[in-house]
């Protein structure tokens, strides 16, 4: 409760200073809009449904792109972690590819797929695939070997061994990578949307720029922050806490 009070105080002070600076009119309002201007833009955006549509479209892309990268990343990570040859070859490539900012995939995606939904999903996929793959690989390695042996000993093999033993056993080690993958996917998606101009939050942001509407720009930025924070802070944090409780791990 004390923490919440501090936070409320902090954000009110922040908005207060912002309002004060806007009131002083040091910068013209079209460059430095007051908080109520941004509030208005948020209200209008939700009232004419453009923000709702933007959020829905962006989240849909996010879900599809991220799910794809989780499934593919798990397969890749498993392959890399279970073969010495793949680890020394493909593993190295994956790590080096991770140094490539995902926005660099945009030209390639546009040439391959055109300005389509597929191109956006491709960029999201490439943005998060690598961190999921590497997380899966590390998870398999860090997971105590005993679980695999115990599983085989009790009659599990093949896919069932993977699904009911290896996957849950490495989950605490994978989760961090999954979280990172989500954060990368989120960044890639907004970047891609800013270039592709096809609905979505990124496009709303660019539209604000094109119309020189600073209030809209700030409003969308705030939306992106809140959405990103909600998924990260609420969904992943909760999963992490649940997992720690269940597995008896002390919170890091």
């Amino acid at each position: 409760m004390k923490k919440l009070a501090k936070q409320v105080l902090f954000y009110s002070a922040l908005v207060g200073i912002w309002a004060l600076l806007a009131k002083l009119k040091i910068w013209p309002p079209y460059l430095f809009p007051p908080p109520w201007g941004v509030g208005h833009a948020l209200w209008d955006g939700f009232a004419d449904h453009s923000f709702w549509i933007g959020i829905a479209v962006t989240m849909k892309r996010m879900l599809i792109g991220y799910s794809l990268s989780v499934v593919l990343g798990m397969i890749l990570g498993l392959a890399v972690s279970s073969s010495k040859f793949l680890e020394e070859t493909l593993g190295g490539l994956l790590v080096s590819l991770q140094s490539l900012p995902s926005i660099c995939w945009i030209p390639l995606a546009v040439l391959w797929f055109g300005l389509t939904e597929k191109a956006i999903l491709f960029v999201v996929l490439m943005g998060s695939l690598l961190s999921v793959t590497i997380a899966m690989e590390d998870g398999r390695k860090q997971m105590p070997k005993i679980y695999g042996m115990a599983g085989r000993n009790l009659g599990a093999s093949g896919f069932r061994l993977f699904w009911s033993v290896l996957l849950p056993a490495s989950l605490p080690f994978i989760l961090n990578g999954m979280k990172q993958g989500w954060a990368f996917a989120w960044r890639s998606l907004i970047q891609a949307e800013m270039i592709f101009l096809s609905l979505g939050l990124g496009q709303l942001l660019m539209m604000g720029r094109d119309l020189s509407d600073m209030s809209q720009v700030l409003a969308v930025m705030i939306l992106i922050i809140i959405l990103g924070y909600m998924v990260n802070g609420l969904i992943f944090r909760t999963m992490e806490r649940r997992l720690q409780e269940k597995y008896g791990l002390t919170p890091a």
């Binding site: 115990a150 009790l154 599990a156 269940k246």
Partner: protein, 309 residues
């Protein structure tokens, strides 16, 4: 603490005390023939487990070949309690892994009921030293796991979970997670999990090594009771000779690196036994005398390792 170890558990054992406990396994009466195959006396008893000239060697990181197990041959009768004793590093855990089919041996054969083993099977369940209980499952879920893998129907699994949890006095903890339990309780979960798949052979790898003496004594009593009630064959590995004499019908002594069977001792002391009994201690002393050279070799090797490091 005035209670003696064997009645410190106040929960009654949930089986009728008419002497046919094993025959009411899953709530349904089963013909006793199914539980205890009674063979005519004339018939030769096929050993439950036969180790036929087992050897295992592996490459160390420095590239040399190390012989871990050397030509081990042992026969274990159905329903027998065999203890394998040896100094640390004699490969006794490795031997259990081979019997469990988790690793292949370099040469020789493992036979169960006369047919060779080629991989893990639920007829032989190993209880690992580290237990390997699944932290993402509840106690009940852990006990259920092996049965699920065997595709046993839900209703039957349910009955067996209840039965085996009662057997190890953990019914109340069915929905707890592993990390919420004490060491001795975890040990009993591992036992229940292994028993629930109803293996013919139970392989136990120093299961009580990490426990305090009191808990261990209690679990000895429990294990002896479960063994006599279920008629399983048990191969129990330990470095503790006293424990081996307390539990085993027979004690096989392994040498240090490479592991060979040095000698076998049959223990015919009446049951139930206790570690404090003088005859148990005396038998243990005889075995220990025989083991002493091996322990010294093991210690010397350890010190040598330390010097070269």
């Amino acid at each position: 603490m005035s209670t003696s170890p064997q009645n410190a558990y106040s929960n009654p054992v949930p089986v009728p005390s008419n002497g046919v406990r094993a025959n009411v396994f899953h709530g349904k009466p089963v013909a006793s023939v199914a539980a205890f195959p009674i063979r005519p006396l004339a018939e030769v008893v096929v050993p439950k487990v036969t180790l036929d000239g087992i050897s295992l060697s592996y490459k160390t990181t420095s590239g040399e070949r190390l012989l871990a197990l050397d030509n081990i041959s042992l026969e274990v009768k159905p329903g027998e309690f065999l203890c394998i004793v040896g100094p640390s590093g004699c490969g006794k855990s490795t031997l259990l892994h081979l019997i469990a089919g988790l690793n292949p041996q370099t040469s020789g054969k493992v036979l169960v009921d006369g047919s060779p083993v080629s991989g893990p099977g639920t007829d032989r369940i190993l209880i690992f030293q580290e237990l390997g209980l699944f932290p993402w499952l509840t106690v009940g879920g852990n006990v259920e796991f092996g049965m699920k893998m065997k595709n046993i129907p839900k209703a039957e699994r349910e009955e067996k979970i209840q039965y085996y949890l009662r057997l190890v006095h953990l019914s109340k903890f069915r929905n707890s997670y592993i990390h919420q339990l004490s060491g001795g309780m975890r040990q009993r979960v591992a036992l229940a999990r292994a028993l629930a798949t109803e293996p013919d052979v139970l392989l136990m790898d120093e299961p009580f090594a990490a426990l305090d003496a009191q808990t261990r004594d209690l679990l000895h009593d429990e294990l002896e009771r479960l063994w006599s009630e279920t008629g399983r064959t048990i191969i129990f590995v330990t470095h503790n000779v006293l424990e081996a004499v307390r539990l085993g019908d027979r004690v096989a002594l392994l040498t240090f690196r490479p592991g060979r069977v040095k000698q076998e001792f049959s223990v015919s002391l009446p049951r139930p036994r206790h570690m404090e009994q003088t005859d148990v201690a005396r038998t243990a002393r005889d075995i220990l005398d025989c083991l002493r050279d091996e322990i010294n070799k093991s210690l010397e090797a350890e010190y040598a390792d330390e010097k070269t490091r």
